[in-house]
Symmetry: C2
Subunit: 155 residues, 2 copies
């Protein structure tokens, strides 16, 4: 019984610890924003997040949304992605580890997440990464592939 209690209490609380590790306050806005990403998932713009929060009756100012998207970015919880529609989008890196690439329809703008790669693909990219690191003197910590084309409906 006690073990059960610790489990359900501990799991949703873990973000709090993350904020504390960064000397940031685990405010209700921040938790609500993370909740949106966990529920609604992929690549949301600031406006998207703002709207989803309103839909959940959780009013957070748009400036706070922007501030916290940037914070979560610097904390390494979100990453920026861009589909050429004039606004920045964000997605959880935890999710990005599984859904790595993006396929973008250049006609209707639809964006599809592509699931994880095969072993072979993973190895290839490690190889390419090492080669670029040597050639350019960079330390590469991540990468992102965008594929452009026409979706089933537009082709």
């Amino acid at each position: 019984m006690i073990i059960f209690f610790i489990e359900v209490k501990d799991l949703p609380e873990s973000w709090k610890d993350v904020f504390h590790r960064f000397n940031k306050k685990a405010t209700s806005s921040r938790r609500a924003i993370l909740e949106v990403f966990e529920e609604k998932g992929q690549h949301l713009s600031a406006e998207d997040v703002y709207e989803h929060l309103r839909a959940k009756k959780k009013k957070v100012g748009i400036a706070t949304v922007y501030r916290n998207l940037d914070l979560l970015l610097r904390m390494g919880i979100l990453r920026k992605v861009n589909f050429g529609d004039g606004r920045e989008h964000y997605e959880m890196i935890r999710r990005a580890a599984r859904f790595h690439h993006h396929l973008i329809c250049t006609r209707c703008g639809q964006v599809v997440d592509c699931e994880e790669m095969t072993q072979e693909e993973e190895e290839f990219l490690q190889h390419l990464r090492k080669e670029l690191e040597q050639r350019q003197g960079f330390v590469i910590h991540s990468y992102h592939i965008y594929f452009y084309g026409l979706c089933p409906r537009c082709r």
Copy 2:
């Protein structure tokens, strides 16, 4: 003598034909913008292009720069690239064919073009493309890889 004349006259004129094929006028602004990309090269923002034009004593309104970047995009001469700095950048596709990836320093924002890939790399990406096309029902016409990390000075 006649042949010589045709040659030097024809080569710099070829953009004119491209515009005509699209039923667009080969105006001096348009040619000046293309000249900037041919001289200054990679991934310029609208503002970058505008500044380079002024430096060349060629005054083109910023609105015209935006309009023509969009036109050249639709004509398939430029492509958009994005480095998360809040503005769109453009580069020539002709050049993109050789300089394919981008390496972005997440600390100072420096962007490095990476030269063309090996045969092996090219084959791998063709393979990945075909697989995605089948899995998602897309027709993929291009792709773009961004690598993120720290440049030699920031590491």
